[in-house]
């Protein structure tokens, strides 16, 4: 078999530049990063509409992601999120080598949340569901060509469940965070919070985060 050789015209400076540009784009390192948080919630909530009290809701939906107790009753929150970040990268050539890439990316999330409210005796008062898609953010950066790092800030959606750190947070000594523990969504039994709620406003504003 005869080896393929580039024809002379293609080896001309202009053609070589196009070829180099093409190769640079080829080795760009486009990336998709997916994060799937929590199992899917049931699509059909007819059974929930027929439920009488929190025991039946537990049978239908299982334990909630979070629950809150107020003087008026009890609230269950069920929630999940699917995050996708898509990146486009262009390699950066330094001294004939492309070890870095310039990356721009966009993050999107599909969200699903169910909130169920009960009175003090545990009787079902109301429930509501919301399913929505949202833009998490856009970002860019320069990365090592083998890296797969997100360029959008999705920490507010992927932060660990508060139950993991509940005990330690009750012993929080740093002020003013410690002073806010009584009304913080992380530690107070009377507060419930959707993932993605801004930390700089509302119930956490006393924490000055």
């Amino acid at each position: 078999m005869r080896a393929f050789r580039l024809s002379q015209p293609l080896c001309e400076p202009a053609a070589r530049r196009y070829l180099s540009a093409f190769l640079a784009l080829l080795f760009a390192g486009c990336t998709t990063i997916q994060r799937d948080i929590g199992a899917e919630l049931p699509e059909n909530l007819d059974a929930l509409s027929a439920a009488q009290d929190y025991r039946e809701v537990l049978d239908i939906l299982g334990p909630p992601r979070d629950l809150a107790v107020s003087e008026h009753g009890l609230t269950f929150l069920y929630e999940n999120a699917r995050l996708v970040e898509r990146q486009v990268g262009i390699s950066i050539e330094i001294q004939d080598y492309s070890l870095l890439k310039a990356v721009v990316g966009r993050g999107d999330a599909d969200r699903d949340a169910i909130i169920v409210h009960f009175d003090r005796e545990g009787r079902l008062l109301a429930h509501s569901r919301k399913q929505w898609s949202e833009l998490i953010g856009r970002g860019g950066g320069i990365q090592f060509i083998l890296a797969m790092l997100p360029v959008t800030d999705h920490g507010i959606l992927t932060s660990p469940e508060t139950a993991h750190t509940w005990g330690a947070q009750l012993l929080e000594a740093d002020l003013p965070i410690g002073l806010n523990r009584g009304s913080s969504p992380d530690t107070s039994p009377g507060v419930i919070e959707l993932r993605g709620t801004p930390w700089h406003a509302g119930q956490r504003s006393l924490e000055l985060r």
Partner: protein, 123 residues
């Protein structure tokens, strides 16, 4: 083969797969014990604590208390081909909640629907 070609070849040889698996929270021992061991109106807080250990969270209700157990499992896979890379991470939660009345007697309890699968969907 010139030096540049060798460089690209070396990078291609570095193309690889990555994998990560993390576990957090309480060991889900409620999956390995008979749920018939817990009975509403009969079982006491101390029996649940003996069987499952300290909960992740204790929540006071109007006239009782809730023990909330949480286990988190995350499995991630990454494929690095330099030209195109992909990473997937799936986090699943296994929960158990126990509601007690003011006398510390079990009112009701529930587990997550099924032991969570943390295999990333390849489809």
């Amino acid at each position: 083969m010139n030096l540049r070609s060798l460089g690209y070849l070396a990078l291609l040889m570095l193309a690889s797969c990555t994998s990560v698996h993390t576990e957090k929270g309480i060991e889900p021992v409620w999956r390995s014990i008979d749920s018939g061991q817990f009975q509403a109106g009969v079982t006491k807080q101390s029996e649940v604590l003996d069987a499952l250990g300290p909960p992740s969270q204790v929540i006071s209700t109007h006239d009782g208390i809730v023990f909330y157990y949480l286990h988190e499992s995350s499995v991630g896979k990454g494929r690095i081909f330099i030209i195109y890379n992909t990473a997937e991470m799936q986090t699943r939660y296994d929960r158990a909640v126990f509601f007690f009345d003011g006398n510390g007697v079990l009112e009701d309890f529930a587990y997550s629907a099924s032991p969570p699968s943390t295999e990333p969907d390849d489809s």
